[in-house]
């Protein structure tokens, strides 16, 4: 299977729906599932092919020079990847994972993509790692293929490997099960880094209309600060109308205790989330502000998925805004990757007065509940609720109990059910590592049929025993913007709202819905 990777022009394999495990009821008839849309012939002609979809759009090289360029630039990137200067950020974890895989395949059992694809061998977490490893040992270290295994390095190997690095949610569930501590997610990200930092190859949703747009305009949504402020003003008005409590988001308030940074996607797609935050923070009497500085009103940081420099640039803008406003801390809204980016990864990139404390918004909400600053009435949330654990927040940061403590206070005990597994052993929503915003060609279909399938399965399992129709609404609480995006797409794709009454939203929405002083009905159960 390693030889095939460097040969042929066609897709190496296709997703066969018949190989997949049926979902739980009422979606248990696999023949009734929507059909996986195949790639168009035009796309197949134009772009490098790996499987049944395309994420990166690498054009097939037309000349031998272009072919050689792909190989040479990949190798030069690989050299930088193992250099102390160019990759100090990840060198040690990278080398541990490059040198110590026992090829035992234990990691495969942890991976939802591998399992839900019908256990396709090319989706084993260790497969892409092993290709990288073989290239590294054969072409950089000149080691014997007898020891490290053989691989032919040509433009197809390079292009397919880059494409394959975008068949991983970077959820690191596989790393949890590795008996040695090898991290296939890290290796997938390192491949993405070589592609981006050396070759300039990145899906456009992540780079051109993602991190670049954020660095130029202020937000990957395309909103500049004026538009963001206008939108938030509108959200404040709407929240005031819906709850009967006057809400006004403070902007650029110097000396506030808290700089609150949302994923700006919330402002555009789920306004009730920033509205809910504003309402709760104000009602709790917190001293807080938002910032209209470049990128400081959008907590996203797509660099965490593919590029250390884009990551650092964005994190610095966030911290710079906090320094300027002289806040005591940055509080991060409901966005998993923004949490991990700013709290954990940026931790080793900032020094001096930019080293401003960062905290999860979920902790602050938990304290509001714990300290009784806002009164809640659980009976207002008298419907089945399950909780999705965003990987970045939970497995990668260890924030597990605050959201549960909140739920305990706002949802009747008998109405809450955990997904299995949950907490740090959760499964990714399927939209992790940028996938939630990637929909080129038929990539959305791949997300719905493969990467997101395990989460849909878990949601359905959690609600088994309930009446599965729209008259009996159920709430999937997902305290992360990207996860919500993926859940929205997959619920819509399978028609799970109409067919099973499955609805989704964030944590603050559920809190405001139970807030005694607010008018009831903050969650409107209208599919948007």
């Amino acid at each position: 299977m390693f030889a095939d990777f460097s040969r042929g022009d066609d897709c190496l394999f296709e997703i066969n729906q018949k190989d997949q495990q049926p979902l739980p009821p009422p979606f248990d008839d696999i023949d009734e599932e929507p059909l996986f849309r195949r790639l168009t012939e035009e796309a197949k002609k134009k772009y490098v092919l790996l499987d049944d979809t395309i994420a990166v759009n690498i054009p097939k090289p037309e000349t031998q020079e272009e072919e050689a360029q792909l190989v040479n630039s990949f190798l030069s990137g690989l050299r930088r990847l193992v250099s102390r200067e160019d990759n100090w950020t990840f060198l040690e974890p990278l080398m541990i994972s490059l040198e110590h895989c026992a090829k035992c395949q234990t990691c495969s059992e942890g991976c939802h993509i591998y399992e839900e694809s019908g256990r396709h061998p090319y989706y084993r977490p260790s497969y892409r790692s092993e290709i990288l490893r073989r290239i590294y040992f054969k072409y950089l270290k000149n080691s014997s293929t007898w020891v490290h295994g053989d691989i032919e390095l040509n433009w197809k190997t390079v292009a397919r490997l880059i494409e394959l690095s975008y068949r991983c949610n970077l959820c690191r569930r596989c790393a949890q099960s590795c008996p040695i501590g090898v991290d296939n997610a890290l290796l997938a990200r390192e491949i993405r880094k070589v592609a981006s930092q050396e070759m300039g190859i990145v899906p456009k949703e992540l780079h051109d209309s993602g991190s670049m747009l954020q660095l130029k305009v202020g937000s990957s949504t395309g909103m500049n600060a004026i538009v963001a402020r206008d939108n938030v003003e509108f959200i404040d008005e709407d929240t005031t109308d819906r709850t009967g409590i006057a809400v006004e988001t403070p902007w650029d308030k110097e000396g506030a205790d808290i700089l609150l940074i949302h994923n700006a996607g919330e402002i555009m797609a789920w306004p009730e989330n920033p509205g809910g935050f504003a309402l709760l923070f104000s009602a709790a009497g917190l001293s807080w502000t938002m910032s209209s500085d470049l990128a400081a009103y959008d907590g996203i940081n797509y660099g965490v998925w593919y590029d250390d420099f884009q990551f650092a640039r964005t994190a610095l803008l966030h911290l710079e805004a906090a320094r300027k406003l002289k806040v005591k801390k940055i509080v991060i809204g409901e966005c998993g990757h923004a949490h991990k980016a700013l709290s954990v990864i940026a931790d080793k990139v900032v020094t001096g007065d930019l080293n401003i404390p960062r905290e999860s918004g979920i902790n602050v909400l938990r304290d509001i509940v714990r300290e009784g600053r806002v009164k809640f009435d659980k009976s207002r949330n008298d419907f089945p609720v399950t909780l999705h654990d965003p990987c970045n927040l939970v497995r990668l940061m260890g924030i597990v109990s605050p959201q549960r403590e909140i739920i305990e206070a706002i949802v009747p005990k008998e109405r809450f059910r955990e997904m299995e597994p949950h907490g740090v052993e959760n499964y990714c929503c399927g939209g992790g590592s940028g996938f939630a915003i990637m929909s080129g060609h038929n990539f959305a279909h791949w997300r719905h049929h493969v990467s997101g399938r395990r989460k849909l399965r878990q949601v359905l399992e959690a609600f088994q025993g309930e009446v599965m129709d729209m008259e009996h609404p159920k709430y999937v609480c997902a305290p992360c913007s990207n996860c919500k995006g993926q859940l929205r797409d997959i619920i819509a794709y399978y028609d799970a709202w109409e067919r099973a009454g499955i609805y989704y939203g964030g944590l603050v929405e559920l809190m405001v819905n139970a807030m005694v002083d607010a008018q009831p009905g903050y969650i409107d159960w209208e599919w948007h």
Partner: protein, 313 residues
């Protein structure tokens, strides 16, 4: 000729120690890296039971961090001894890998006992009391270790050759390494069959005794041929292990302590900040257009500017 096994054993042990030291130093000299922890983190005290972290605390930076070394030990010891992760996630392989690894531990323990026995100056035949217990330990650990090691290595080799998911990923050396273990353990066990278990370990203990006493005197070890052959092969294996990916016993320590469990925050004014500042001063040569590293600009330069598009901020 009689001292060949003795010198092989010395050289094998030395080569092993040198390789392990060099490899450990290589990991120790790795530059600081960004945080990449993975929960559960074992030293998180009570929170470790559900995978929580100090980041769950409000204003955690104002509070003392709980660090439970006992929590680490509670995870590390069963992991090392019983390969808990493999047992939980890959039972089929664990049935083979566990006896293999446990066999190696027993052989190591048996060898340490041999050294201890020799240092006590006891005679094999007349050993009594504590020395008698050591002698019994040597025989039991040694024999059980070789049997388990052989069964495990053979089981692993068989599975690697037959299970498609392992076969497809294996390089010839992966099979060779396991075959070597099978061969070496088989030779040692045939020695036991030929000489009898007591005699085999008695002569082996004599030879190990000579090694541990080497700093105090000269070597005069003479052992039966089959014991000599076992010792030579074991010594070669000992020297070979750290040169292969089987040095994962060192890498695994760093995977856990330096990566998975390394959640130490970079607090303002800490020593870490200085190290980070130095790292940020290193040159960048990545050549994509949005980075345009030229080997002169450093990390701070690149992170605070955008080539051509956004001027210095």
């Amino acid at each position: 000729m009689e001292t060949v096994p003795f010198w092989f054993a010395c050289a094998g042990l030395l080569a092993f120690l040198v390789s392990v030291t060099l490899r450990t130093m290589m990991w120790l000299r790795m530059p600081i890296h960004v945080r990449w922890e993975l929960y559960p983190v074992a030293h998180e005290g009570k929170r470790a039971s559900y995978g929580g972290s100090y980041l769950e605390e409000s204003e955690w930076w104002k509070k003392p961090r709980e660090f439970s070394i006992w929590g680490e030990i509670r995870v590390m010891v069963p992991e090392i001894l019983f390969l808990v992760a493999l047992r939980e996630h890959n039972r089929k392989l664990w049935y083979r890998s566990f006896p293999f690894h446990f066999g190696l531990y027993l052989i190591t323990a048996g060898t340490v006992l041999m050294g201890g026995f020799a240092l006590m100056g006891s005679q094999w035949e007349s050993a009594e009391g504590f020395a008698g217990v050591l002698r019994m330990g040597i025989i039991v650990f040694g024999l059980a270790g070789l049997v388990l090691g052989l069964l495990g290595a053979a089981g692993l080799l068989h599975r690697r050759m037959t299970a498609p998911e392992l076969k497809d990923f294996s390089a010839p050396a992966d099979l060779f390494n396991l075959a070597v273990f099978v061969a070496v353990f088989s030779v040692a066990l045939s020695g036991i069959v030929l000489l009898g278990v007591v005699e085999f370990f008695a002569s082996l203990t004599g030879l190990i005794g000579q090694i541990v006493k080497l700093p105090f005197g000269h070597a005069e070890a003479q052992v039966p041929g089959i014991v000599g052959l076992s010792v030579v092969l074991m010594s070669l294996l000992l020297a070979y292990i750290p040169l292969t990916h089987m040095s994962h016993f060192i890498g695994k320590y760093f995977a856990y302590h330096s990566v998975r469990w390394n959640d130490a925050p970079n607090l303002k004014g800490s020593k870490q900040e200085k190290v980070i500042q130095e790292a940020l001063g290193q040159p960048v040569s990545w050549s994509a257009s949005h980075i345009a590293g030229d080997g002169k600009k450093n990390w701070v330069d690149v992170a605070t500017t955008m080539p051509g598009e956004i001027k210095d901020r």
